[in-house]
């Protein structure tokens, strides 16, 4: 047992840190750290920079063009990037659809799609959830009817993240209505430029635009764009959901946000004294830091188990619950630190470089909106109630 990084791991970290220091745009980092609006170019630009070094897909094995890092190295990379304020990896391509294509896709699909995910040429989005199929995803109704060498896809998807930036969408569609609802689903890869796809933005609680409704009207999809076998899509979808074990904890991001919370509490004046001197507020930070430390060492334990070839099982559900609750509490405390300054809603201030009134808004304007936005974390990717079902069924045998 050794809690510290090895000398090799420390060298690796220094290497990552140096690269970020030389290549990450300060303007983009400031936007990320201040929770300002990010453009498509901000995100894809960083992806391209990473690609020049072969790091755009940190989780990929070498055979598909990834760096072939160990779980611990991936963790270090994520921590360093997040801490520095790098834009997030575009998860839907790199972390979600790519592992499915690697494991279940045809050779042609692998050759076509994987290099384009690596280079950033293809931005992917997800077509899973439907208005009537949320937690009960297998009840989805979007259909794909086979006509010769194409499927004709009809239906509606919702809560589609950043589809307005995307080039491709991976979709679950029903190809059979026989048997259990899980049994008639297929996994399709669809070009967003296909005729019949339309998007409508969903206005969110914080007034920002990140998710869409997606309509598919007689969209023609070549059969060659189906992953694996027909009607086996549920297996692939589940693989995708369980493939991501530790990223779901959002450890690096929460460690960064904790530092930011402390900085804010030291900066905000509480009747002439720094707020951090207020015991009640500081105790709330301390309680949160303790929760975060417990999550951190649980994540490190999972990484260590994976490195030793052990399968830590459904533990990712526990990481999701703790990680999302911590993200929410962090955003709540950052908002509460503002006191009455939590009230003003100044959406213009979310654009970088804004210098308007009320004064100082450039740093605090985003915090209340972020609090409202972070309520999503216990709802998406399998709500925390679904995660508790998974723990009680798979881990506790109930």
């Amino acid at each position: 047992m050794d809690l510290e990084y090895s000398a090799t791991e420390k060298l690796f970290r220094d290497d990552i840190r140096a690269f970020i220091g030389q290549n990450l745009s300060r303007d983009v980092a400031a936007k990320v750290l201040g929770h300002k609006r990010l453009s498509r170019e901000d995100i894809i630009g960083w992806h391209r920079v990473l690609h020049t070094r072969g790091w755009s897909a940190p989780t990929w094995p070498r055979e598909f063009g990834g760096p072939g890092w160990t779980a611990v190295q991936q963790h270090i990379f994520d921590e360093e990037c997040t801490a520095a304020g790098a834009p997030p990896v575009i998860a839907f391509g790199v972390r979600m659809v790519a592992p499915v294509i690697m494991k279940y896709g045809s050779a042609a699909q692998q050759q076509f799609f994987l290099p384009r995910i690596l280079s950033g040429e293809h931005w992917w989005c997800q077509g899973y959830t439907e208005p009537g199929a949320g937690s009960d995803l297998a009840s989805l109704k979007t259909t794909a009817v086979r006509r010769g060498d194409t499927y004709v896809v009809n239906g509606q998807k919702t809560w589609n993240t950043l589809g307005h930036f995307a080039d491709w969408i991976f979709c679950l569609a029903r190809t059979s209505s026989e048997g259990r609802s899980q049994e008639g689903i297929s996994f399709l890869l669809i070009d967003m430029k296909s005729k019949g796809i339309s998007l409508r933005p969903i206005a969110l609680i914080d007034g920002e635009y990140e998710v869409n409704e997606v309509w598919l009207d007689d969209v023609e999809v070549p059969v060659t764009q189906r992953v694996g076998e027909e009607n086996k899509g549920w297996t692939y979808a589940k693989y995708l959901l369980t493939h991501e074990r530790v990223n779901i904890a959002r450890l690096g991001e929460s460690k960064r946000e904790l530092r930011s919370l402390k900085a804010i509490a030291a900066r905000v004046s509480n009747d002439g004294r720094p707020l951090i001197e207020d015991v009640r507020f500081r105790d709330a930070i301390a309680a949160l830091e303790i929760e975060l430390r417990a999550l951190e060492y649980t994540v490190l334990g999972v990484l260590s188990a994976e490195a030793a070839g052990r399968d830590p099982g459904a533990i990712s559900s526990a990481l999701k619950i703790s990680g999302s609750e911590i993200q929410q509490t962090l955003s709540e405390l950052k908002m509460r630190a503002l006191g009455p300054r939590a009230l003003p809603h100044v959406p213009e201030a979310l654009d970088a470089g804004w210098q308007g009134e009320p004064g100082g808004a450039e740093w605090w304007a985003a915090l209340s909106g972020r609090y409202f936005n972070m309520r999503k974390t216990s709802i998406y990717s399998g709500s925390n109630e679904i995660q508790r079902n998974i723990i009680s069924h798979r881990l506790l045998g109930l």
Partner: protein, 383 residues
Amino acid sequence: MQFEFNDDQLALQDSVRRFFTERYDFETRRGCLAEPAGSSDEIWQAFAEQGFLSIGLPEAHGGIGGATELMLTMEEIGRALVLEPYLSTVALCAPLVADHGTEAQQADLLPRVAAGSLKLALAHGEAEARYASTVHTEARREGESYVLNGAKTTVLDGAVADLLLVSAQMKDRAGKLLAVFQVDPNAPGVRLVRYRTQDGRSAADVFFKDVNLPASQMLGVGDATAALERAVQRGIAALCAEAVGAMEATNATTIEYTKSRKQFGQPIGRFQALQHRMADMFVQATQARSMSILATGRCAAHAAEPGDSALRRRDVSMAKCYVGKAARFVGQQAVQLHGGMGMADELAVSHYFKRLTMIDMTFGDSTHHLAAVSDAILLESQT
């Protein structure tokens, strides 16, 4: 960085668990509870024969394994609800002797610990200090001896110990310092008020009135403040590990109970309200184990990186706070999910609950350690 245990460590934990399953089941433990001392000398001798009392001692004095082995053993101690003074003797006092005692003192005391002929207790806490480490008990130099006066409160295992390690303030030419003395509980001037604790263990309040101690009874040389702090931190790490074992067992027994108990025509474990509670209990126990590993790792690292005492202090406090809260939650919910049976002495769950509660109340409860972390955050913001 790696958190995996090697095969030898896992084999050790397995053998400890097997020993307790075979030799220390719930009914045997009941028998120990009924003994006047509240623990069994026969079992203690068996611990010695199995080598359990040598775990973590220096190799030069017959020790085997280190902090990790001790942690894994403490998990089993918690799972089996062991009443014998293992925590005090092996996790708290023996490492203090190894850390601060002279070579001669180590050679005198440690082999006897390993052989099972010497039970130790740490007499450090005082009533006025509550969880703080303030010591009013004092030792005065008189010729070649020291004279001890003062009182120690809730000395864990003090009622069964053969030797007490007592902290006391002293003045010498260099100023005030904290020392540790070996005190025979039967020595003239030492008075013990023995009692049982809520969880069935034994403890004592100890009063010292002009107790005469030969200079050789002082443990080590020089100020023992840092050594005592490290000893308590190791004790906290051991308690965390014990709590982890007890929580895992509590969760297991709760799951079993809800699978067998039927109401409304079905096992109550089918109800989602109960399932989600047990999922939360599982999450907290899992993360508590991570914190226990962190605490043990930090305490073990102190020799290698003595400069990092602030980091050790903060992480040990974080661990104790998290584990204390988790222990309270798991214990309370386990009793709740057992319904009326959770209130009965007859089932193990009530005993686990009491032990888990008292672990939180020992060496600083979750509120005390939260305050320590909070203070560290303030300090960090000012530097």
